[in-house]
């Protein structure tokens, strides 16, 4: 019980993430089919399942997932475990219930727990950078529920997993500095995590590069840096070898990426231009990425507007300048690369999903803004409220918001809020297991057991309110901020 109380923040985050299931879509299906192919058919192609997904490549008459294979490879372990459990219990693997349990479980293990881990490492980083425990707790909750980390912790995309891996390495680097230890195993672990991030989401290469340079720059000497680099490469090697082996297995070359074989003409028309569809950053896309009502990051997550002020406050404090540069570089590079990518809007998505791996690095500076004074801390609370409401609504109704004309498409106000007004949640009817639409493709645990739309949303809300009733009451009473004291430094 004491453990539960001490870690209630992360338990609640995990429960909230597990509560929502978003059904299928081409992206998730493509990753899931690859996992299934490896475990069940011991094959790298998804040919038997390919009619169920648009996100696929074709090579020598067979169809393949066009995604970076990392997440699917990671998922083979829990998938195999689920299958073993099904066999042991005699459950019909093709039945609707076990199928949903299996994929819901995979989503939670791969993305949900990644979201929890990202929150945990973010909080750890904030504490190591000098944030008071209260501020760290508030920002961790804000990140977990008030940013795109929330919806993307409930889908089998690679973004949240990559986010967890990146912020984990950030925290580990900070911790090494705090403890003044520099073991080889530490560098090897970092290398392994960075490599995993790469093979889960190729675009995180820029963030990995920034973190790697930062890690090496902090070595006491060139010799130590060289040794650290060598150990990091040694740690990364097994992951990269597995990745290359998979590519060789699938496409006959260890460097032939899945994106080279995309089938869909609309995708191929762009992935064959520039570097896999990445060209020059575009100003109009930059506006849409940050401020647009269609996919704008700040529109969906108003909390992150304070990142700008946070970077300024951090700069003024003259603390942790190197970490400031790291966070700023990761954020700027991610935004620049997204604005240069042809599919900057992420297709069926909530907000600019390609920015999800960099979001922890936009939350870190807000901690410095909170230290500017009581009014600054209150501004964070004020900004968190709409962020959490918007993200909760999107997660509850539809994460895979359809793509459209950025000039008049508004997923939050055009789809999500009207659905809530009509007492509708879990709109997605795309299903991983069926070509045709399925009414029960998406759900939350409340609607799954028969609760009404609004009532079902009260369950996680009540869990948070009950767990933090005293902090909420105190916060409202003295307006000095919420005291999320349940999470303490390990």
């Amino acid at each position: 019980m004491a453990w539960l109380r001490r870690h209630r923040l992360f338990v609640l985050i995990a429960f909230t993430y597990a509560y929502f299931f978003q059904g299928g879509d081409p992206n998730q299906a493509s990753r899931y089919f690859l996992t299934r192919a490896i475990v069940e058919r011991h094959a790298p192609d998804i040919t038997p399942d390919h009619p169920n997904t648009l996100d696929k490549g074709e090579f020598r008459g067979k169809f393949y997932s066009d995604k970076a294979p990392g997440l699917s490879l990671l998922a083979t372990v829990p998938y195999a475990a689920f299958r073993l459990a099904e066999k042991a219990t005699g459950v019909d693997e093709r039945a609707r219930g076990p199928s949903l349990v299996r994929i819901h479980g995979l989503v939670f293990v791969l993305s949900g727990l990644a979201g929890v881990a990202a929150a945990w490492f973010l909080r750890r980083s904030l504490l190591l950078l000098g944030s008071p425990e209260r501020d760290a707790g508030i920002l961790t909750a804000g990140y977990a529920l008030g940013t795109l980390a929330f919806p993307f912790s409930t889908v089998l995309f690679g973004h949240q997993t990559a986010a967890a891996l990146l912020v984990a390495t950030f925290a580990l680097c900070l911790e090494r500095r705090a403890t003044r230890r520099s073991p080889a195993a530490h560098a090897a672990l970092l290398g392994a995590l960075w490599a995993t991030s790469l093979v889960v989401e190729y675009p995180t290469a820029l963030s990995v590069a920034v973190l790697g340079v930062w890690f090496l720059s902090r070595a006491p000497s060139v010799r130590d840096a060289a040794r650290g680099f060598a150990w990091a490469v040694a740690g990364a090697a097994p992951v990269l070898v597995v990745h290359s082996a998979f590519l060789y297995w699938a496409f006959g070359s260890p460097f032939d990426l899945p994106y080279n074989h995309v089938v869909e003409p609309i995708f191929r028309a762009h992935t064959t231009s520039g570097f896999l569809g990445i060209g020059r950053p575009r100003a109009e896309v930059l506006w849409e990425l940050l401020l647009g009502r269609y996919r704008g990051l700040f529109f969906h997550c108003p909390l992150l507007v304070l990142s700008v002020a946070g970077f300024g406050a951090w700069l003024r404090r003259r603390e942790h300048d190197a970490e400031l540069v790291v966070c700023a570089a990761i954020a700027v590079l991610a935004v620049a690369m997204s604005s240069a990518y042809y599919a900057w809007d992420g297709g069926f998505s909530t907000g600019p999903r390609h920015l999800v791996p960099s979001l922890p690095f936009l939350v870190v500076p807000i901690a410095f803004w909170m230290r500017e004074g009581r009014w600054a801390a209150r501004s964070v609370i004020v900004a968190m409220v709409p962020s959490v409401l918007v993200m909760t609504a999107c997660t509850a109704v539809l994460v895979q918001s359809p793509e459209g004309d950025p000039r008049y498409m508004n997923g939050v106000y055009g789809i999500v809020l009207p659905a809530l007004a009509r007492h509708e949640v879990a709109l997605n009817v795309l299903d991983v297991f069926h070509v045709t639409w399925q009414a029960d493709a998406s759900y939350n645990l409340g609607t799954f057991v028969g609760l009404g739309a609004w009532t079902s949303l009260l369950v996680p809300a009540m869990a948070w309110l009950v767990a933090y009733r005293r902090a909420i009451v105190d916060g409202l009473r003295n307006l000095r901020g919420l005291r999320l004291s349940g999470a303490r430094t390990a």
Partner: protein, 655 residues
């Protein structure tokens, strides 16, 4: 210390920026609330499950048919003389479906269909899909109007795909559904969930419509018995838009994005066309196989957008152009509709070399015009074709490598939907072309949002201040600064108190003055040189331009050695072949001066000429006249024109 000050300043700047962003985000959320309200507009449901069904359904016409509610349906009985039309509440049209469930009990001749009807215009425009019941040939088909807007010309579906309705179907209920797509400009008819027919249809996004059910007999005295179940009208989300979209295509991909380009290829029987893309080039090739007339070998069609002001270019290189043409331009709906309109510019192989040409609809008569022209741009095989369109004035300008090919008042009507296109056509059985295209750009200007006029279009030629009516210039002094030289050269001749026009690299020298209001009469003196001083095709006379300066009327004397001496009324548009609309013979004596008088009223242009001699009276009758075209816009300038290396003109009088 300095570093610290800088840091503080940056921190404050970031805080201010953050505040500004927060304000904008808050505004964006508040402004977005209307989006939610719009999406909460209820779909229309017309039910017949209670006796008071007429509270939610309006009966537009009921004549000779009786209706009774039976369970959840409306039973309609009577004879095929009768009519029954029902309508629901109005909605603003966007992508939508309207469905009706029906059962036809007999084989009598009547139509039963469901669809939509305009309610924001006086005339009734309607498009429906349903059953054309018939004892001989029952079928599912469209009814009504493909345009949804006036004029009514060619408003009915002319071609119908025959979809048979079998007699065995009568025993069952059927659900007919009409999907209206303002975005795609199409209607789709389906029966029992299966799409069976589609047509182009110009129903626009945002017009007010209401769902309708129409039952209409087509004979007399035959029994009619049908059941009509509920009608559902539902908006459908379609993430497309016809708002102008920017295109900046450089063909660097391995394939073309099908959302941007549709490729239209020839049939490979009469004409063959092929294309390849990659490495920054799109290669178009085509040749005739059995062609007996001009035919399109290949074309690339862009997305449908609302017509507004725009600037569009294509960068090309014609490797081969033989009995063929390469074109770039735009048209409204490409096929099928009678109101097809276009504006193209391109290259065509002339007798000895390539020539630019323009084609399209600009006469205001709905007819397609093709105008090749030769000149300084002859022989050009590489460069950039450009089209600038000013939605406010309706003027389209086509140019090749920055030089104007033509400027026309187009028949296209903003904001009608249009598509840009480019491609190749072959003219004869020998026709063939091979053209590389390296970029296509389309930069729209949403004039509905900005009200901006012709940002890219070159402004009309400036005209000098209005000249007073009744003004006379005998050129006793150098008054040329008060005139506007449109092209060529003009110089004052102090000795003869006249103007010398020419030489001109483009042929014509044109100089005008004033802004006149019709009717206007202008008189000028023209010197006819000695025979030895004349060129083969020399001419000189008066001219009047329209407001834009693009359309010009000439009243000129032809005196070139290879020409019959005549007075001509000629309509001239830059980049187009001149239109010689009226002429009259005139006897000319070398070395003498002749008066030319030209009159423009609101309907016609007139001209006459006579010797500038003291004892010769002005003729009473006009020698040549021609009607003004409908697109003529008054208030241009008047002056002299000459197609000669050195023509002397003088004594201008405007009345």
């Amino acid at each position: 210390m300095t570093t610290n000050v800088v840091r503080v300043a940056i921190a404050r700047g970031f805080a201010i920026a953050s505040g500004a962003l927060a304000i904008y985000v808050a505004y964006a959320h508040v402004a977005s609330c209307k989006t939610t309200r719009a999406h909460l507009e209820e779909p229309v449901s017309m039910r017949f499950d209670s006796a008071d069904w007429q509270r939610s359904v309006q009966v537009l016409v009921q004549n000779g048919l009786t209706t009774t509610v039976e369970g959840d349906r409306l039973r309609v009985r009577g004879t095929t003389d009768g009519v029954l039309e029902l309508a629901g509440p109005s909605r603003r049209l966007r992508e939508a479906t309207v469905r009706l469930r029906l059962r036809a009990h007999d084989a009598s001749p009547y139509d039963l269909a469901v669809g939509i009807e305009r309610v924001d215009v006086d005339e009734s425009f309607r498009v429906t899909w349903g059953l054309r019941n018939d004892p001989e040939r029952p079928a599912w088909r469209f009814f009504g109007d493909v345009r949804g807007s006036p004029p009514a010309a060619a408003q009915h579906f002319e071609r119908q795909r025959f979809v048979r309705f079998d007699d065995t179907d009568r025993a069952r209920d059927h659900e007919v559904e009409l999907r209206i797509s303002p975005e795609l400009h199409a209607v789709l008819g389906s029966v029992d969930g299966v799409a069976v027919s589609s047509e182009l249809a110009g129903w626009d996004d945002g017009v007010m419509v209401r769902p309708v059910v129409a039952l209409r007999g087509r004979a007399s005295g035959r029994p009619l018995d049908v059941e009509v179940f509920g009608v559902e009208y539902e908006p459908v989300d379609l993430a497309l838009g016809t708002r102008p979209q920017r295109i900046d295509e450089h063909f660097k991909s391995a394939i073309l994005d099908p959302r941007t380009w549709r490729v239209l290829r020839a049939d490979d029987f009469a004409v063959s066309g092929k294309w390849s893309v990659g490495g920054g080039l799109l290669r178009l090739q085509g040749h005739a196989l059995r062609a007996t007339r001009e035919d399109q070998a290949i074309a690339f069609v862009g997305p449908t957008v609302d017509l507004g002001s725009f600037h569009a270019t294509v960068a090309f290189k014609a490797n081969r152009l033989h009995r063929a043409r390469f074109f770039f331009g735009l048209s409204n709906l490409l096929v099928g509709l009678a109101d097809w309109r276009a504006f193209d510019v391109g290259l065509v192989d002339g007798l000895t070399q390539t020539e630019p040409y323009a084609a399209g609809h600009w006469e205001g008569d709905g007819q397609f015009v093709v105008s090749p022209f030769s000149g300084a741009l002859s022989g050009v095989t590489e460069g950039e074709l450009a089209i600038d369109y000013d939605a406010a004035s309706g003027i389209g300008r086509a140019s090749l490598n920055g030089q104007l090919v033509t400027a026309q008042h187009l028949d296209l009507q903003p904001p009608e939907p249009v598509q840009i296109h480019f491609g190749g056509r072959v003219a004869t059985e020998e026709g063939a072309f091979d053209v590389n295209v390296s970029s296509v750009k389309f930069e729209p200007i949403d004039w509905r949002a900005t009200g901006e006029i012709a940002r890219h279009a070159a402004p009309p030629p400036p005209l000098p201040d209005a000249a007073p009516r009744g003004f006379t210039d005998d050129f006793a002094t150098d008054s040329t600064p008060a005139y506007h030289l449109l092209q060529g050269a003009a110089a004052w001749e102090s000795a003869s108190h006249s103007l010398r026009l020419g030489p001109s690299a483009v042929g014509y020298s044109e100089i005008v003055r004033g802004r006149f209001e019709e009717p206007v009469t202008v008189t000028g003196s023209i010197h006819v040189p000695a025979q030895a001083a004349r060129g083969d095709y020399d001419s000189a006379g008066l001219m009047a331009t329209d407001r834009t300066g693009d359309v010009r009327w000439f009243g000129v004397i032809w005196y070139g050695t290879k020409l019959a001496t005549e007075l001509h009324l000629t309509r001239h548009v830059p980049g187009r072949a001149d239109q010689f609309l009226a002429k009259a013979p005139i006897k000319l004596e070398p070395g003498k001066n002749y008066w030319v008088k030209m009159r423009v009223d609101r309907n016609n242009v007139y001209a006459r000429a006579w010797p500038n001699e003291p004892n010769v009276l002005e003729p009473e009758e006009w020698m040549a006249s021609a009607p003004l075209d409908a697109a003529w816009s008054a208030s241009g300038g008047v002056g002299f024109v000459a197609n000669a290396p050195a023509a002397l003109v003088g004594s201008l009088k405007v009345e």
